[in-house]
Symmetry: C2
Subunit: 189 residues, 2 copies
DNA sequence: TGCGAAACGGAGGATACCTCCGTATCTTTT
DNA sequence: AAAAGATACGGAGGTATCCTCCGTTTCGCA
């Protein structure tokens, strides 16, 4: 969100730079991993390093911002699948798409974890949004009987993350492992 | 292993320094994470930075060496549980102990992953040992019918790792998530 | 158009990495 | 036991990246 929270709108140049930085950071992270020198990101965006640090005081702040886009699209996906599929199938489909999209974003899963563990404010917002979306899909799956009732939203998110990390460099195994996991979530033991 | 592979034994001072470095690295990783400055490790061990780099040319090499100890004890644990428990239960017990011990070693799970992905030689040795141990336990569980036959050793290791990373900072959820996972490995769908 | 606020940029101090080579220590030989 | 040769040590210093600080520039409002 390129406006200072609740205050007057950003100046035009500031907003422009913020957006260019975000876009270039996303590209740079994908190309060179999340440890790419921040000076490179600044150069790609055509701004000074000082400007980068003003907008994103830490590396994690920049990673969070990039990450936020992905959360948004996962949230949208959850609602979309909820409408498109029968209640018993949407959760599995969403988890599949989560894990697949994670595979394309190298290193960002570790960032996600760092963010989760840090209880950051940025994450808190994403957190609520994604919990709400996944909560909806999960509840329907449980009503439909395809997921046992004692599974929580946190469980789903955590397991998704776990699987993403594990198969980051072994995408061919992702499907099998996810299906084991889904079986586990289904069975009433 | 503080002897140069297959060649003449290390000089006494070299061996001493190697061992001190390893011990201090283990401590420093636990206290400050695996990103602790290597100069600190060298200082703690009472050697120069050059000595550290001679024994461990990269950070990963040092992490691998520390990690190796843990693999050894997990391998031992697998054989131990195989003897102590009925065949259907040893695998679950081993996975439980893996995940629990991982929780105590912050950051090292990420190292494990880096090592796995790198196909390093050091890992290759550990790899064989642990695959053999887990393979034994897994095969018995499959014979006993508590694990479906299409689960592989890689699956078990990968899932273990995933869970360890995911619950590194949420140990209270570890048990539940693992039990979901085990249910998934058991059910024939 | 002019002025104050906001943002920019990059120099530079600090930290960490890692190599290189003169010095010190150990081991073997006589 | 002493010397020679092999091996290992240590840390100075070049390089890379981080991140702050502040003089300069740009923007927006009146």
């Amino acid at each position: 969100m390129p406006t200072s929270a609740g205050e007057r709108p950003m100046r035009a140049d500031a907003r422009r730079n913020y957006e260019r930085l975000l876009a270039e950071a996303k590209g740079a992270f994908l190309e060179h991993g999340v440890d790419v020198p921040l000076e490179d990101v600044a150069r790609r965006a055509g701004v000074g390093i000082g400007t980068l640090y003003r907008h994103f005081p830490t590396r994690l702040a920049l990673q969070e911002a990039v990450y936020r886009d992905q959360v948004d699209s996962l949230v949208a996906k959850a609602y979309e699948l909820d409408e498109a599929l029968p209640p018993g199938e949407a959760l599995a489909a969403w988890m599949r798409s989560f894990v697949e999209s994670a595979a394309a974003r190298r290193g960002l899963m570790q960032t996600l974890k760092a963010v989760i563990d840090k209880h950051s404010e940025v994450f808190a917002r994403c957190h609520d949004e994604i919990r709400e979306a996944v909560g909806l899909v999960l509840a329907r799956a449980q009503e439909a009987g395809t997921v046992r009732p004692d599974v929580t939203v946190s469980d789903v998110l955590r397991l998704n993350h776990a699987l993403s990390v594990a198969t980051e460099h072994a995408p061919q195994d992702t499907g099998r492992l996810l299906s084991f996991l889904l079986d586990g979530l289904r069975s009433q033991s």
